[in-house]
């Protein structure tokens, strides 16, 4: 783990498997607690990070759950802006292109899920994506309250 209190930037590399997602959640949660982020903002960012990581494991890495698949997380705080960068080496995958959930199809059992991306888009202010060399870089941004 690379922690630098001066630059307010923490990073860590994880194995991109569904069983590792709770550790990613815990890393984001601990970092935000260290920065005394308000509880409601903290919950939003933690859940959005969980959903983003889950989607990367399931889509960029096709749910393979291989130990060699990696997901690097970097959390930055610039003033009241929290930025979470997620870098993976999976297939080209722009999380923003996933469709909105269809509740009726979910109820009929014809489609499962789709709620994670909806949650991410609702809970965060902005989601960016770029393909950098052989990596997907997904960026979650949220302005937090100081109070």
């Amino acid at each position: 783990m690379n922690r630098s209190a001066v630059t307010q930037k923490y990073s860590e590399k994880f194995t991109a498997t569904i069983h590792e997602v709770p550790k990613i959640k815990e890393f984001v949660e601990k970092t935000l607690k260290d920065w005394f982020v308000r509880e409601e903002d903290l919950q939003d960012i933690v859940l959005a990070s969980d959903e983003a990581a889950t989607n990367i494991v399931m889509h960029a890495y096709n749910g393979e759950n291989k130990q060699e698949n990696t997901l690097k997380i970097m959390i930055k705080k610039k003033g009241n802006l929290i930025e979470i960068d997620m870098e993976d080496t999976g297939l080209t995958f722009d999380i923003r292109t996933l469709p909105k959930p269809d509740i009726q199809l979910n109820l009929k059992g014809q489609k499962r899920g789709g709620f994670g991306v909806f949650l991410m888009k609702t809970l965060m202010d902005k989601i960016n994506y770029k393909r950098k060399k052989d990596c997907n870089v997904t960026v979650l941004l949220k302005k937090i309250n100081d109070g």
Binding site: H19, V21, T54, G116
Partner: protein, 115 residues
């Protein structure tokens, strides 16, 4: 802590399923399998999902709830959810699924609503 399940059989095809811990992608598939297996084994038609001890839920938890709702409705039964922690209830509201589920503040009122 990963989610655990305890099931209390009320008889007459009614049960209360108590979830305990976090309900996320790492455990939701296992939780869904266990609950569906219980529904099949004991011919359950009506279930109250008591989430008083669920401290965290991601969208994977919604998938479990929707799968249970679909399963029980197919059998002509009902799914009631009770005792949501404020943080979990807020996510139900954000995802606009509150109207999809019958949610109760107390276990007693959820059980009573099964008729």
């Amino acid at each position: 802590m990963a989610a655990e399940i305890n099931i209390k059989n009320l008889g007459g095809g009614k049960v209360i399923a108590y979830l305990n811990g976090r309900l996320d992608v790492a455990v939701s598939g296992d939780i869904e399998e266990k609950l569906v297996a219980a529904i099949e084994k004991d011919s359950i038609k009506n279930m109250v999902l008591n989430m008083d001890k669920v401290e965290y839920m991601s969208s994977s938890g919604f998938r479990v709830a929707i799968a249970l709702l679909r399963r029980l409705k197919d059998e002509g039964g009902q799914l009631k959810i009770c005792c949501l922690k404020p943080a979990v209830k807020r996510i139900f509201d954000v995802i606009e699924l509150t109207s999809l589920f019958e949610i109760f503040d107390s276990e007693e009122s959820a059980v009573a609503s099964l008729g």
